[in-house]
Amino acid sequence: MKILVPVKRVVDYNVKVRVKADGSGVDIANVKMSMNPFDEIGVEEAVRLKEAGVATEVVAVSCGLAASQETLRAAMAMGADRGILVETDAELQPLAVAKLLKAVCDKEQPQLVICGKQAIDDDANQTGQMLAALAGWPQATFASKVSIADGKASVMREIDGGVETLSVTLPAVVTTDLRLNEPRYATLPNIMKAKKKPLETVKPADLGVDVAPRLATLKVSEPAQRKAGEMVADVAQLVDKLKNVAKVI
């Protein structure tokens, strides 16, 4: 069974981004970029399925700038067998990414696609669901446990108020939640080995996909900042403030 893992290059989760003064976007020049944390979890899960003998090949796919090669190399250092870069300088919105991934799936015919639940830059939480819709496949989002047997995936997923387990036919799309696994660190030998793994580059036009954005960003602004509060000396003072000043208890 082949597993496809979409991986996105995003601003590292430790970076607090700044909004540009002209309101045109956030300033990401010279900030640290990393693989989207949910996609690391996706790669880890796919590699574990391969190590368990369930999967035969793990293919990482990234859509975006040429620099996304680094992200693919990172995925290969974790254990993905090869990488596909859908290279473009164009702004990609989730629907466009889903269409690109659908085209890659048509070629690669994976049985399972493991997306992250959300990219931590756009916070969209859409691409996996959209890919599943376009492909006509089932989706098991926000997964905290995945097992494969008899041509089906059994997925425990996080829902409001608890968890549920779905049984979905394959091929299917799974999206990862934080508790699915703890991604490994790539070792130095594996980072070296990853440099030699195959990395193919294609363009959106080669895949016949129109990636034109559907949403125009009119402006990006800073959210209202909270006013600095005050420190209280003890519990008595805290209770007094909450009762008599804030009037919330």
């Binding site: 939480n125 669901q129 819709a133 989706q139 829902i159 979905v168 125009a216 519990v235 805290l238 919330v248």
Partner: protein
Amino acid sequence: MAILVIAEHDNQSLKAATLNTVGAAAQLGGEVHVLVAGAGCGAVGEAATKIAGVAKVLVCDAPHYEAQGAENVAELVKGLAGGYSHILAAATPAGKNMAPRVAALLDVAQISEIVAVEAPDTFVRPIYAGNALATVKSADAVKVITVRTTAFEAAGEGGAAAVESVPAAADLGLSALVSRELVKSERPELGAAKVIVAGGRGLGSAENFHGLLEPLADKLGAAIGASRAAVDAGYCPNDYQVGQTGKVVAPQLYIAVGVSGAIQHLAGMKDSKVIVAINKDPDAPIFQVADYGLVGDLFQVVPELTAAIG
């Protein structure tokens, strides 16, 4: 054209999030319809007719909607979409699961977790864990949207909408619900609670988490929330998680206990009206957003606070 709100429910009762979604729909201009898709969900349809501002309730009652799987519900919504300018769902796990699927079937963008309506085609939504707000304009014929419930007033009661039953779409048979385990709690829902007591890794164990926070929450009639670190350490169930990738809350009072205040946590609670932080580290980032900060050992402060609240 009319606006379709997809109701969130468990076949017995309507979830409060639906009311906030109707609240957002009311700002778009147009007749608001509510879709209740489920099995044996007649009572939910009835409840939806009473929401102020709703003109019509569409009920689609069929066995294959019992679990409300995204595949079957999205297929149904695709068939209904023709008559609507906007399709809205709450930005809850259920809404986030289903709405993008609807959008892709209609070949339109989905606009995630809006916090304001600027015009019928222009919306504000947080990006980068709420560190920036993007104003986006949609060129699509149908706007598929999820709504951050804390950003919109809940619609009130007093409606008298008509009920129309709509035929089911085909059962796609792609997905089956095996089991569902819901955490039972007498406490208010996190999303709707007026007061939230949230615990972090500083609590140190599940025993401490429950032993210290529950008596305080009991006194305040509060819901209990948590940081991801507390959830990961097994102190409490996953659906307590507040943050960028958990629940977004905006209570009157949020008391953060032993939570450092990582940006991902702040993304979920910084719109609370009053924030209290209790932490032994005076440099913890949580103090930068707290209205009242108390530096101290939570094992001493929390019991004292519980005792001091009458």
